[in-house]
């Protein structure tokens, strides 16, 4: 029921996205700024409705969110969000909706945590092995949806959502049956902790003993890689061409089936990376309280960042900041769910803002064309 709802919603979102034309610099800046303002306004109305002062709320969120502790937490949260959003965005760029990022990263994190905990290798090799396992598992799991789409015509929105559920069941089975080591006295279960050689140290930050994930650089690297892959490579050209018009792409010699398989695998492989900063930088084990739902957050952030690596970075930081600073609201007796409303309205208003901008531009173009046609020109007369 709810899965179908999500599927329907994503399908209509896809139609909306497909209509969003490439942007110009000014509009890329104005639209999100207006959207943010609008979201703040909506949230303010909700805040007033629930009896809280919007100004006080926003101020306390800013004050709290900019403390060193919270800055580090925000950056860490944004790191995982960023990877999640990039994994989603690569599919979006060719109109391929990988809703299964969530299941892909959870399964990848579980299996790589198990492998990482089972072996002892020299430091760089140990980390490399864990990451390779994660990427492989993510890519393989996503490829099931790719293969189903290419060979059986199954819509990837449906199959990836279903695969999420299967990943949950499979992961729980593997974790509870084969992978878990029980900690004395704990009701938690998890994989055997990864040894010191497989961990990645954090970066110190002044004013707090919280550490920034060492893998924040992985996120930066992935962002740069994404840019070059999509905008500066043959593959990226095929990808964008397929996204804009599959039939046109076919006409110019692109194998759409190959593109679907490849893109799905790359998206899944990137999804495999999502759990790495948390796993190698903080948890060292996949247990019952390993963060879940990052894949879905990634969808919102990819939309917010307009599938652009820089935009997504801002989106990830903004969502991370909102998540962290929401905690102060609870302490002040303001329902922290307000932050979920903010995040939702921000994504919605960004999508709507770009749509409005796009329509305005089309209308301008149409009227420009109209004026051109209304005034007869020299060559036309000559032809007649």
């Amino acid at each position: 029921m709810s899965d179908l709802f999500v599927a329907q919603r994503t399908l209509s979102l896809r139609r909306l996205l497909a209509r969003l034309a490439p942007h110009k610099l000014l509009l890329t800046l104005v639209a999100p700024a207006l959207a943010l303002l609008f979201a703040a306004l909506i949230s303010a109305i909700v805040l007033v409705g629930s009896g809280a002062s919007p100004l006080f709320t926003y101020r306390s969120m800013l004050e709290f969110g900019l403390k060193p502790d919270q800055i580090v937490n925000t950056v860490n949260q944004a790191t995982t969000y960023y990877l999640a959003a990039i994994a989603v965005a690569i599919g979006f760029r060719m109109n391929l909706f990988n809703i299964g990022v969530d299941g892909q990263y959870r399964l990848a994190a579980l299996l790589s945590a198990f492998v990482g905990g089972a072996v002892h290798l020299p430091a760089p090799l140990h980390v490399a092995l864990i990451v390779v396992v994660a990427v492989t598992v993510g890519a393989a799991w996503a490829s099931i949806a790719g293969i189903l789409k290419v060979f059986r015509g199954v819509n990837e929105v449906i199959s990836t959502i279903m695969l999420n559920a299967i990943a949950t069941a499979l992961g729980a089975y593997l974790l509870t049956t084969y992978f878990s080591v029980s900690v004395a006295g704990s009701n938690n279960i998890g994989t055997k902790p990864i040894g010191a050689s497989g961990r990645i140290g954090g970066i110190a930050f002044p004013g707090t003993d919280n550490r920034v994930f060492g893998l924040v650089f992985l996120a930066v690297l992935v962002g740069v890689g994404f840019h070059f892959l999509v905008n500066r490579s043959r593959f990226g050209f095929d990808l964008r061409a397929t996204g804009l018009s599959a039939s046109a792409a076919v006409a110019s010699g692109v194998s759409v089936r190959r593109m679907v398989l490849l893109t799905m695998a790359i998206s899944g492989g990137l999804a495999g990376l999502i759990g790495m900063p948390q796993l190698l930088g903080s948890s060292y084990s996949y247990s019952l309280d390993f963060p879940a739902g990052l894949g879905f957050a990634g969808i919102g952030i990819a939309l917010l960042g307009r599938n652009n690596p820089v935009g997504i970075a801002f989106g990830a930081l903004l969502f991370g900041f909102l998540d962290q600073s929401s905690q102060i609201l609870d302490l002040n007796g303001i329902p922290k769910e307000i932050v979920l409303i903010m995040q939702g309205t921000i994504v919605l208003s960004v999508v709507v803002a770009y749509e409005i901008v796009r329509r305005v531009r089309i209308r301008q173009q149409q009227s420009a064309v109209g004026t051109d046609l209304a005034t007869p020109t020299e060559p036309q007369e000559a032809a007649a």
Binding site: S12, V46, G49, S50, D69, Q70, N73, N76, Q77, R106, T168, A169, G171, A172, Y173, L175, T176, S182, V183, A184, G185, S186, N187, N188, I189, N210, Q278, S282, S283, L288, D289, F290, P291, A292, G293, L294, D323, Q324, S326, Q327, I328, D330, L331, G333, P335, K336, E337, I338, L340, I341
Partner: protein, 343 residues
Amino acid sequence: MRRQRATKLAAVLAVAALAVAGCGKSNSGSGTTPKTGPKVGLAYDIGGRGDKSFNDAAAVGLDKAKTDLKLRIKELSAAPGETDAAKETRLKLLADGGYNPVIAIGFAYSAALAKVAPKYPNVKFAIIDDLAAKGANISNLVFAENEGSFLVGAAAALKSKTKNVGFVGGVQVPLIQKFEAGFKAGVAAVDKSTKVQVKYLTQPPDFTGFNDPAKGKTAAEGMYDGGADIVFAAAGGSGTGVFQAAKAKNKLAIGVDSDQYESASADLKPVIMTSMLKRVDIAVFTFIKDFTDGNFKAGPKVFDLKVDGVGYSKSGGKIDDIVSKLDDYKKQIADGKITVPDK
């Protein structure tokens, strides 16, 4: 197209209305708050106050402490899928805000508490359902869920006419498997030939099984159709679905954590034979009371049958005829004559 748009608009409005309604919900307990006195901080697990289950049981203990001991309280709750870092922040917020003691509800806080507690040597902490977080300022409040479940298992076996009973677990995690182990042992102690059907509603990390009555109803219906006449719902908020199934099939069910005969709606009361009690409220209240009396003790404090930290309820009068037998089992467990398995 136009109709589609109208539907979409309606959906958006409905979501907004729900969100606003959700925000209107009061976050703090009832009663007036004194201006001075000790400040107690409580960090709930996902769901927070109002989950009609585990968190609410803690809230009952906190409310009692607030009125009886004249305390100021602060309650924060967890978000689904959050990281340990978020839990650390929450505990730090309370400790920094001058709240002492600070109580963490649920084993999910284990790792976060183990990191935060050493940084605040002057603040006393308690954690429910966890022994792994250790420290000179951490009190671990744990329960013998298996012992309480043993008693309702025995009750089910004594009352079952079909020699067939069911166990519905919310989420397949070690904590709920402890309920299952105790329940099965209790059934077997009465009658080894009685069949126990077992079903878990969801697998981690999907924790919706604790709050999905529809799933509980389906699972219980399957068990009743399969011949069971009594089903134990160890499934938090999903238990309501089990009770509905029992009513529809004219069978019986067993509640969990609190006396669910008291909290159930009038039409469901007749099907609730008994409830396995896990007195999180007593644990929370006792901890706060001990703290205010200057009797804080670090380390494990087990709430078992001996101290009535777990047990079974008698409201509704459905098990009046077997109370003496159950109390006999209870005595044997408390005296150590029966050891109840925990997995």
